[in-house]
Subunit: 236 residues, 2 copies
């Protein structure tokens, strides 16, 4: 969908939790790459999608109360409150496009599955009620393409940036590379090495485990599509 | 002082303004490159300077009440309150070191003057009570070194990053390159072009113009020296 456009993960929280969540993102920029914050009382991401309305312009939303999923809706009208602050977070689609352009196969795309994700033993830096381990996504990369994969994704710190780990899964607390915590396992070909990137599931998992009275997210795979192009986010 | 170590600008504000100021920094990463936020009730920058005490470990502080300078002290003991949130912001010293290593002369250092700074017509993105124009610093760079200057500073988005403008000062609202708003003017040699970087004076000027009941900063030139090395901040 909309190739080349920046797509965003959504996290919407009441204002009394917003400072701590903003601080959590600032302290953990690799798993929580903040694209834009829309203040309470506002619904338009003026920088990334001028004219859009966050209450209706993502294809599907999930509403959580005290950490429990209570509704899945295409319009947030009945749930919206004036004290809600919206966070748009970078998504791996952007750096995957860069990897594909650089000639790398995304195995989970070839197999039409969801990228395998793992809860690691890498701690995040906590902020207020928000804390927990970093979640990573994993892609098999050919040995001779690893340097290029690092270079290509380093250009995009706003969408997770360079890998957090290359190689031995046990070094970051992953005991079985074929048993992801989220998504589906993928096969490795000869000479391929697991490469791990910080994953946008981290802030959602961390926020959810804090069981806020109300939290709204996009539904998995139903991203908020912005007006910006991936290349707009490159630092070099 | 302490060459190669990351030095930080300090801005300390009451917690009720902290969300808006954090948001202002998130929205304006080039003039306001946030290194670390120390929450209310805490005084230790655990990431950048573990063991340090922000109340006494900068060489000199300035205390402002309602936008007016009311004290200059070496210890914040009598002014400290448990609701203060401290912001450590990146400083141009880090990217100047990178430019010098790449063989560029910093004219203001040769002349032992303060870098010339200008208020531009480039708006910042406002957040709550915080808004105002971007302040930039200017360095004359030889025509043939401009590409390298862009490359070298692009590696350091956490300390202002790449230039915001190269060449014609009037394009960003500067009418006289020899009449800076802050610092002192510098001479140009034949073939040199003015290159402008976002300046850390921006967040302080913006915060000050909001006239908060209390705001504490480091005194000019009396930076908070951290434990990290400039190279630790390079994205590539």
């Amino acid at each position: 969908m909309a190739p080349g456009r920046v797509q965003a993960n959504l996290a919407i929280l009441p204002r009394d939790l917003a400072f701590d969540f903003l601080l959590f993102c600032q302290r953990n920029p690799r798993p929580c790459p903040l694209l834009e914050v829309v203040e309470s009382g506002e619904v338009e991401p003026r920088d990334f999608a001028p004219g859009a309305d966050l209450r209706s312009d993502a294809p599907l939303y999930r509403v959580y109360e005290h950490g429990e999923l209570t509704a899945e809706v295409t319009d947030l009208g009945e749930f919206w409150r004036d004290d809600l602050v919206s966070f748009l977070l970078g998504c791996s689609f952007s750096f995957e496009t860069a990897l594909i352009k650089a000639g790398m196969e995304m195995r989970h795309m070839t197999c039409d599955t969801t990228v395998p994700m793992f809860i690691t033993n890498i701690p995040t830096s906590s902020a207020g009620v928000f804390s927990g381990p970093m979640v990573v996504s994993m892609r098999p990369i050919a040995q001779e393409q690893i340097v290029r994969a690092v270079q290509v994704t380093s250009r995009f710190p706003a969408v997770h940036g360079a890998p957090v780990h290359i190689g031995d899964p046990t070094a970051i607390g992953i005991s079985d590379i074929y048993a992801p915590d989220f998504g589906e396992p993928v096969e490795f070909k000869d000479g391929e090495v697991p490469v791990f990137w910080a994953c946008g599931v981290t802030p959602q998992a961390v926020a959810m485990s804090a069981k806020p009275p109300l939290m709204i997210t996009h539904a998995p795979g139903h991203m908020f599509i912005t007006d910006k192009m991936d290349e707009d986010l490159a630092v070099i």
